[in-house]
Amino acid sequence: MSPSIIALTITSIIVLIGSLLGFLARFHHKMDLEQWTVAGRGFGLVLVWLLMAGEIYTTFTFLGASGWAYSRGGPVLYVIGYAPLMYVVSFYILPPVWEVGRKHGLQTQADFFQVRYGSKYLAAFVALVGVVFLIPYLQIQVTGLGLIVEVASFGGIHRSLAMIIGVSLVAGFVFVSGIRGVAWVSVIKDALLLATVLFIGIAIPRIYFGGIGKMFAALASAKPDHLVMPGSTTNLGHLWYVSSVFMTAVGFYMWPQYFAATFTAKSAKIIQRNAIIMPLYSITMSLVLFVGFCAVLVLPNLSNGDLALLTLVRKTFPAWFLGIIGGAGALTAMLPAAIQLLAGATLYAKNLFRPIFAPRMTDQQVAGLARIMVFVLTLGALFFAIFTSVSLVSLLMLGYAGVAQLFPGVILGLFSKRVTTAGVFAGLIIGISIAALLMLTGHDPYYGLNAGFIALGINFTVTALVSAVTPVRVGGFEQPSLAMSASTASSSNRV
C-alpha cells in the first residue's frame, strides 16, 4: 500500500468512529430544545471538562500556535499566558451565570442579556454579534480541516472534498444529538490529541536535537531574538502582550458557545472545579509550541507557517502515524465547529428570529428552525472556505475583540445594581465599532496596545457614563415578570 492510502485509511477510521459516537449520543434522550442545547443541565465534572477542553482546543490553536512559534517567535508566549488567566476569570463569572441559567431556564448567552436587561433588542443584538463572529471562527475550522486532511493524505484528497465530507458529518451529528453529541466526540478527540501531542512534542526535539533543552540551546545561539518579544515581528512587544493577554483572558468566555457549555453542568461547583484544573490542560499547548520552535531550525523558509507542525510530522514519522495525527487534527477541527454551529443556530432561532420576526413561534418550532439553521450555517462556512481566497484570520481576530465587548454587560449585570440597559447597549455598540474600525484599517496594535483592549476600555467608560445618567429599568435577576417566556415553564420542572 502506498503511504497515502495508509494515512488516509487511518484518518478516515478515526473520523468515522468519532462521528459515530456523536450520532449515538442521542440514545435514551428525547431531543427537545432543552436537551439539544444544554443536555438537560445534567453533565458532571468529566463531561463538562471534555466539553470545555474539546471546544477550546481548536485548529486555530493547534496549527496557529505552532505557526506563530515558527513565524513570529516570542510573542506566541501570549497563548500560554492568557490560557490560565481566562480560567481564573471563568472561576468568578461562570458559576453565577450558571445559577441564573438554572433559575430562569437560560439556554443561550443572549437569553442572559434578555433576562438581566429586559430588552429583546439588546438580546437580539447580542445574538447577532455572536452569529456574525461565529461564522469566521467556523470557517477557520473548516479550512483547517481541509488543510489537515490534505497534508495527512499526501495530497491524495483535495481539501475541498475533505471539507465537504468532514463538515457534513459534523452537521449530521449536531442535528441528531445536539450538545450531547459534541461532548461524546470530545472523549475520543481529547484522548487522541493528548497522546499525539505529548508524543510529538517530546519526540521531535529529541530526534533532531537530542532533547528539548538542546533544541532551545541551539535556537538561543542561532536566533536569540526569536525567543523573546517582539521576536521576529516589529510591533508585538511587551505592551502588546499585557493588553492582549488581559483582553483575551476577560473576553474569552464571552464566546457564546462557552455559555451554552456552562449551562450543561449540573451544579455550579462543577464549573468551579473545572476552572481550577483546566490550566493543567494547557501544558499540551506548550508541547505544540516546541514543535513550532523546532521547525524554525529544521524547516526554514516555509511559505505558510501554519503548516509547520504538519509538515514536520510528515517529514519525521511513517505514514500510519501521520494518519493518526490527521485523524486527531480533523476531530480537533470538527468538534469546535460542532459547538459553534449549535450555538450560532440556537442564537439565530431563539434570540434573533423569534423575538423580532415571529413572536408566536412555539418552542418546538424554534427547535426545528435551529436545526435547519445548522445546515444553513454549515453551507455558509463551506462556501467561504472553498470560494474565498481571502484569509479570514483577520476577521477571527476581530471576533475575539468583538465578543470581548460583551464583558461589561456580563460582569456588571452580575455584580452591579446601577448598570442600565441603555448603558450596556451604548458601550457594546461603541466598543465593537472601535474594535472594527481599528482592526479592519490595519491599526492593530494601535500605539503598541491591542485594539480590542482599547475598545474594551472605551466600552467600560461609555457603559459607566451612560448608566450614570439613565434610569435603572431592571436592577437584577429577581423580576419574575421579565423571565423567559415559554421555555422557563417547560424546563423548570426538569431541574
Binding site: I212, G213, A220, V242, I276, L289, G476
Partner: protein, 76 residues
C-alpha cells in the same frame, strides 16, 4: 448575585500579576531552566501554580457559603 470574597479575588489576582502585568521582568532567555528559556519556563510554571491559587480561592468561597447558608452549596 453575591460577590466573591476579597480573599478569593486576591488569590485570583496573583496569576494575573505573575504572568500578565510583570512581563518585562521575566521575558528573557537566561537563565535556562529544565532546558527551557526563562520566559517559557516561567509561564509553564504558572500553569501549575494557577490551579494552586484557584484551589485556595475555591476553599475561601466554600467556607463562606457554608457559613452563610448551611449545606445549601453542596452539589446533588
Amino acid at each position: 448575585m453575591t460577590r466573591p470574597s476579597i480573599g478569593s479575588i486576591l488569590l485570583g489576582l496573583i496569576p494575573f500579576a505573575a504572568t500578565c502585568f510583570s512581563v518585562s521582568l521575566w521575558d528573557r532567555i537566561h537563565p535556562m531552566i529544565f532546558g527551557l528559556p526563562f520566559n517559557f519556563f516561567w509561564l509553564v510554571l504558572w500553569l501549575f501554580l494557577t490551579p494552586v491559587c484557584m484551589w485556595g480561592a475555591y476553599h475561601c468561597e466554600v467556607s463562606r457559603t457554608k457559613g452563610d447558608r448551611g449545606e445549601e452549596g453542596s452539589s446533588r
